[in-house]
Amino acid sequence: MAVESPAPAAAERIGRLDRIWAERPGLSGWITTTDHKRIALLYLATSLAFFAAGGTEALVMRTQLAQPNEHVVGPATYDQLMTMHGVTMIFFFVIPLSIGAFGNYLVPLMIGSRDMAFPRMNALSFWLYLGSGLLVYSSLALGMAPDAGWFNYVPLASRRFSPGLGIDFYALGLILNGVSSTAAAANFLVTIAKLRAPGMSLNRMPLFCYAILATSFSLIFALPPLTADLVFLELDRKLGFKFFDVAHGGDPVLWQHLFWIFGHPEVYIIVLPAFGIATSIIPTFTRRTMVAFPLVAVAELLVAFIGFGVWVHHMFATGLPQMTMVFFAAASLIIVIPSGIQIFAWCMTMVTGRPEFKTPLLFIVGFIVFFVFGGLSGITLAAVPFDQQVTDTYYVVAHFHYVIWGAAVFPLLGGLYYWFPKVTGRMYHERLGQATFWLVFAGTNLTFFPMHIAGMLGMPRRVWTYPSGLDWSAENLVSTIGAFLLTAGLLGMLANLVMSAYTGAPAGPNPFGGATLEWATTSPPPPYNFAVIPRVTSAYASWDDDDRADDRRRLESGELVLETGHETTASTPVDGHLDDVLHMPSESPWPFVLGIAATLGTAFVLTDHYLIAAATAALAAAVLVLWHAGEPAAA
């Protein structure tokens, strides 16, 4: 706690850091910020707002499907809701929350850095994400939302069958979103490679950072096929190209291949940060190190790698050659192994530790249950003939909600509780936290389990209504009840966190005894994260009391305090030897302006104002020049 009551020399250094790293107050501070923690909070607020929108869409759909032959909404509205729900939850909620909010907040803290490698690009990522989300959502406000489903198969999504602007909102919005994600992923790769604290060799890097590393690699390689696909689609739709038009030598199956070459790695992009959160929470609440740490690290990277070789299992009904299907079935089965290793590693860490089942760990237990269940139903989808029965039924809807909602989002919910004291400096309400866990857990099962049965009984997905007499009514009614129960649980959780942010007991730097470096600084952390750049000798740096005492001593002696400039350290990528002191860019309005310009430019392309779009692009280029104009020369 010496950080809170420092010696005179240390106090003076901290005062200097406070002045150097201070950002402007108020709203303009949020617009110009380059602090990864504030950018993370912007991501958090925005992704939760989109989550509320996507959740509302789901509730309207569940109300429509509560009974056969309902007329709450018609197919035109339903198809828009279903498309927006999928697009929102994947592109505007889960990935921005896991990578944008959790990754941004935690990676620099966990590796002992003062910011991301490219702080302004980090801000730009956020503003592009916000712009893409608002662009796509403006279509819903205008009543012309995309309505061809989140995977948007052609020719249904071609101009001939979808003549409105809805599909263009989808395609251009996701291209813009892809730029944001690519920039974020590149930023994480460089940050993790270069900005780790001295001594943090790769084998001492927290597993959460391995997860973000794997996710970032996946994003870098998965997004180009999607972007190419979307560009082809817009060329077809806007300029009359024929990429997907059979009559002119195109092929609609090309869309599917490119989409799923992105789409399946995307599943692991979504779920890997969740693995990382699980491997952060489990050691803390079991009071022990992760069992099989190196195996888990390798497994995280392997999952991301093998994830690129399984996409055809989304296309088993399209009539591909048998050998192709056999190959992709095998690849889809092999990916079970690195996932299995992680599951057993989590379980055995709990079995051999002394688990304290507080709210964050409960969410991780829920995550393991859902991940195993959704993983098992996923294995059945690699079994080609069975997949050819159930693909495009509610069985698949059940499966991917167990994986994406149960496995990917549960750790995020657990993570919200776990890092809440770090971010706010206050404790959440534990009893209420556990109660909301059980509500959300029960609601999830009640909502999504019956969908397996509905699918086995032959209910196709993406139907706005269904007739009675096919035994689908009870399953659907239970799902709808479950969805409202789940919502109640989530609202309870929101109430807990919002109230605790004002009234919770002060948390202190490390209320749970967490092992990673974010717990070594104050709650909330100062803008520069650490008064002194920590030195690291293990993967559980906050449990190394001698090292942390050494940090306090170095703060007084001024070693690696970097109090003369806006600076952080760089290390060698593998061994983590101190390599350089980097001057870090500070707050700037230009990422925000560039974000607006890019969003407006996209909107002008969407409305066929190509000249104005070109002018906006020129404006964006000018902004890029200004962006660097204010920069002090590199040392």
Binding site: A148, Y153, A292, G340, C347, M348, I379, V384, M456, T465
Partner: protein
């Protein structure tokens, strides 16, 4: 709970043919194995909960944990997945596409937004939303599309095949039991996707043969009365721009062939039953029953004209 679904006529778990049964067996095998694996993991979680307050610290636990991780996460999956893979490879030929000419009968099914056109190559028979098949006879179904991607699926008979522009997919249906089996489009195809179902009507071979002979015939011309007036209304309202009635000048290809509409069980791809009352409502307000349908409403026609139309269409048996 899943077995209770046997009543549903679209259930994967009430198979009628050999391929559907093989897939069903594959499912129950995976289900049983999956439940065992699930129980093992739940067991570990329960163990973690039960032992949470113990305070023995044995040095060998770390090695034992490694053994469990490698055994449960690597060795057991490799063995189980190899078995599953072998099972999959064994079932795949049973559901694979039949070679052209491998069956005596071929039926062409063409997906439209939002109905099923059914043709019997080598004959003039064309119908919609009902696929008549002879029992105990291998039949090759060739699936194509006229517009967007649809998917042909009769869960109790076989797996699904997508209908993709520029391609055709095929599947063999060899149904041992007469009966009516429900199928439904299972690739999202736009507004009418939820209301794009069909029936496979399996008849004794003799009955099928006479049905096909009759289906090949052009429509009978009504001699007189309301039905004859209806035929004139049909022409006057330009119904033939979209619909075909073989033996008349109506040759449209946007909506279903109506040559023998009177003999079909349902209207609008199983949306409503085919009774004179329902047909009257359908002609008056198709959007009310099937939003998005390409069929315009004819409520503006005088009631007598619509009555005549219904009488004409119901006479086309």
């Amino acid at each position: 709970m899943l077995a209770a679904g046997c009543g549903s006529n679209q259930s994967i778990t009430s198979p009628v043919t050999d391929p559907a049964r093989e897939i069903d067996t594959l499912w129950w095998a995976m289900f049983a194995a999956g439940m065992v694996i699930f129980a093992v993991v739940l067991g570990l979680l329960v163990l973690a909960f039960v032992r949470r307050r113990r305070d023995d610290e044995r040095p060998e636990t770390e090695r034992r944990a490694y053994a469990v991780i490698l055994g449960g996460g690597m060795v057991a999956p490799v063995v189980l997945l190899a078995v599953l893979f072998a099972f999959v490879i064994r079932v795949m030929p049973a559901v694979s596409a039949p070679k052209p000419g491998s069956t005596d009968l071929t039926v062409e099914v063409i997906g439209h937004q939002w109905y099923w056109e059914v043709r019997y190559p080598g004959t003039d028979a064309v119908t919609a939303n009902e696929i008549h098949l002879p029992a105990h006879t291998p039949v090759r179904i060739v699936a194509r599309t006229a517009d967007v991607i649809h998917s042909f699926w009769v869960p109790r008979l076989n797996r699904k095949i997508d209908m993709i522009p520029g391609r055709s997919n095929s599947i063999e249906l060899d149904v041992p039991r007469t009966g009516i089996y429900r199928g439904q489009c299972s690739e999202f195809c736009g507004l009418g996707h939820a209301q794009m179902a069909f029936e496979v009507i399996v008849q004794p071979p003799g009955a099928f043969r006479s049905w096909l002979d009759h289906e090949e015939q052009p429509a009978a011309t009504p001699a007189s009365g309301t039905a004859a007036a209806g035929q004139q209304e049909f022409a006057a309202a330009s119904c033939g721009d979209c619909h075909a009635i073989r033996g008349t000048s109506a040759a449209g290809h946007i909506g279903p062939d109506l040559t023998h509409i009177g003999s079909r069980n349902t209207l609008a791809a199983l949306t409503i039953p085919n009774t004179p009352g329902d047909l009257m409502q359908w002609i008056s307000n198709p959007q009310g029953w099937k939003p998005g349908s390409r069929m315009p409403g004819f409520a503006s026609l005088p009631l007598s004209a619509r009555r005549a139309l219904v009488a004409y269409l119901e006479s086309l048996r």
